[in-house]
Symmetry: C2
């Protein structure tokens, strides 16, 4: 009876897959020293980015990444139909102020660290649905703004447990468009909010893993695909502990992703960088996607990638009021499809 | 050259206007004593709603409104393709936890008090684009949770200036669908973030008015319509001071809306209720729309309404760091179109 272009329960396959027209990434000094350091468009000299506060530094990064993506697409902000962005700061002020400066009709998103993939998923529907020629989607995070908002100001020097992750200082932006040459988004899987009861806000990887696994399993069930249909399956910011748990949960459903699955939070830092479990934050998947994965797809090293942006949907208040940590994962399939190959 | 279904720069006209299939509203005691008190589905006896914290009370209201809207549409949560919701609390925890409990694929939004209209606008595109048969959109706010997060805990008894607004305790939810009888959404106008430099967070109406006016003017320019094409033009939560300013700003662009323009923040409270400038909050436009306006349209008292959800995109941190208050307004045209009239 349904008239909807859905595959199964949560997945959409596009008739006209939106194409990545341009992408840009800006990262902090620590990310610049990591394994992907030479992949990013801009590595900041220091985490204040020439501003007086970390919040303003984050906003400036986000704006720079957006301007970079629009420029690389050969466009100007007035060519963009809709901008969709968000960040981790209360009231997503990084995104709101960036949208003010760019003057593009704006949809504010909050998907915690899943925001970049939430934006790509929504933006793809708007393009395939005929509502936009170009959508700009972006997300940012900053180690110092996140630590002081969610945990403790970094000046306090509070010791972090080994399950903790390191919030990436970075902003990534992408312009997706209705036509052109480039990697394209062929499918999306919209996630549900999943909560298996993890309450430790110093172990977000474990809290988000059930949501990541749920979306990955749902994606396979909806599409009839299997792990081997992908050169790479990559989650947003589960880091080492969450990655292992996700692999197990997906295996329990009958899918073995052990051979081709990793996480952006593992890719961005080296274990010697003392980030404990690995990277996290909206910026983590945003910069690994825009700075590294898209380039690898264009270079032909990955032909088809399933990316799942992951978010922990807690707040400091919800934790203080005894709540567990719900998570979400939004899946996006990026294919070399439109490269002419 | 554009393949996009746009009218002008920011407006979309739908080929298959999505229809309101069900809507529900839950409000606090003060809102129940207001001029629209007998219109709402549920009026709480007290603002804790049987919970131990105001945050949990707000979440319960939001869940109740969502369940009510789905039930009134004659559906169950599993019939809903996508839920889009948000609220004013940090990390939109009311919406995240509600989405967890309902188990519907979820897109988290942050548009401050414009969230309900942001969700209706986006949801309409997904339905008209063929991606969903039914979208659930919802928003909530709570006087006590908002005061302690944005200003001062209410127990402190801080005196409020007369320009201040009173955050509505309320949650509104609507299911829009691809077909059926009922008021329908024929056009949307996606807003830009506008900031004319207002810095007084006790005068949000003035801060948001330029964004509301910008969207109203843009809507008229994009559609070629004029104020007289609408029985009612209604903004989300500008209240008395913002309303007057919006009327002036729109008049400067050559459109006289003095005869048929009001604001949800004016409708929901009576001046004797000591709410100063009037109502505000995500819940304000959400409950006035779902509890009152839709019923008036169904009853034939308004044939065509332009609603503009308005949001102030500040955070306490941005204010402390000397920033002005950007605003946004998203326009939605609701027409008696599909009533068979």
């Amino acid at each position: 009876m349904s008239s909807v272009k859905k595959l199964g329960q949560q997945t959409y396959a596009f008739t006209n897959p939106p194409v990545f027209a341009g992408a840009a990434s800006v990262v902090g000094p620590k990310e610049g020293q990591g394994p992907l350091g030479n992949q990013f468009d801009l590595v900041l000299q220091d985490s204040l980015n020439g501003e007086q506060t970390w919040e303003k530094a984050e906003r400036k990064m986000l704006k720079e990444s957006c301007q970079g993506a629009v420029k690389k697409a050969g466009l100007t902000p007035s060519d963009i139909d809709i901008m969709m962005a968000g960040d981790l700061l209360n009231q997503i002020i990084s995104a709101n102020f960036t949208a003010r400066d760019l003057g593009i009709p704006f949809i504010g998103l909050y998907g915690a660290c899943s925001t970049m993939f939430e934006g790509l998923a929504l933006g793809s529907m708007l393009i395939d649905g005929g509502f936009a020629d170009y959508v700009l989607t972006a997300a940012s995070s900053h180690y110092n703004t996140a630590e002081r908002q969610y945990r403790f100001p970094t000046e306090m020097g509070v010791q972090r447990p080994l399950t903790a992750q390191w919030t990436v200082t970075g902003a990534g932006a992408a312009v997706i468009g209705v036509q052109g040459q480039g990697p394209s988004i062929t499918h999306i899987t919209i996630g549900k909010v999943i909560d298996l009861g993890v309450k430790d806000s110093n172990d977000m990887g474990s809290a988000m893993a059930p949501a990541a696994a749920d979306t990955i399993i749902r994606h396979f069930q909806d599409t009839g695909r299997s792990p081997s249909d992908y050169d790479l399956i990559v989650t947003g910011d589960l880091a080492a502990i969450g990655r292992a748990l996700t692999e197990q949960l997906v295996k329990q459903a009958g899918y073995d992703i052990s051979k081709n699955y990793t996480d952006c939070g593992i890719l961005i830092f080296d274990p010697t960088q003392d980030t404990h479990a690995g990277g996290s934050g909206c910026g983590c998947s945003a910069v690994v996607l825009t700075g590294y994965l898209l380039k690898e797809i264009i270079a032909g090293r990955f032909k088809r990638v399933l990316g799942v942006g992951t978010g922990a949907l807690l707040s400091p208040s919800s934790t203080l009021q005894g709540e567990s940590i719900p998570g979400i994962g939004h899946g996006v399939v990026i294919d070399a499809y439109n490269l002419g190959g």
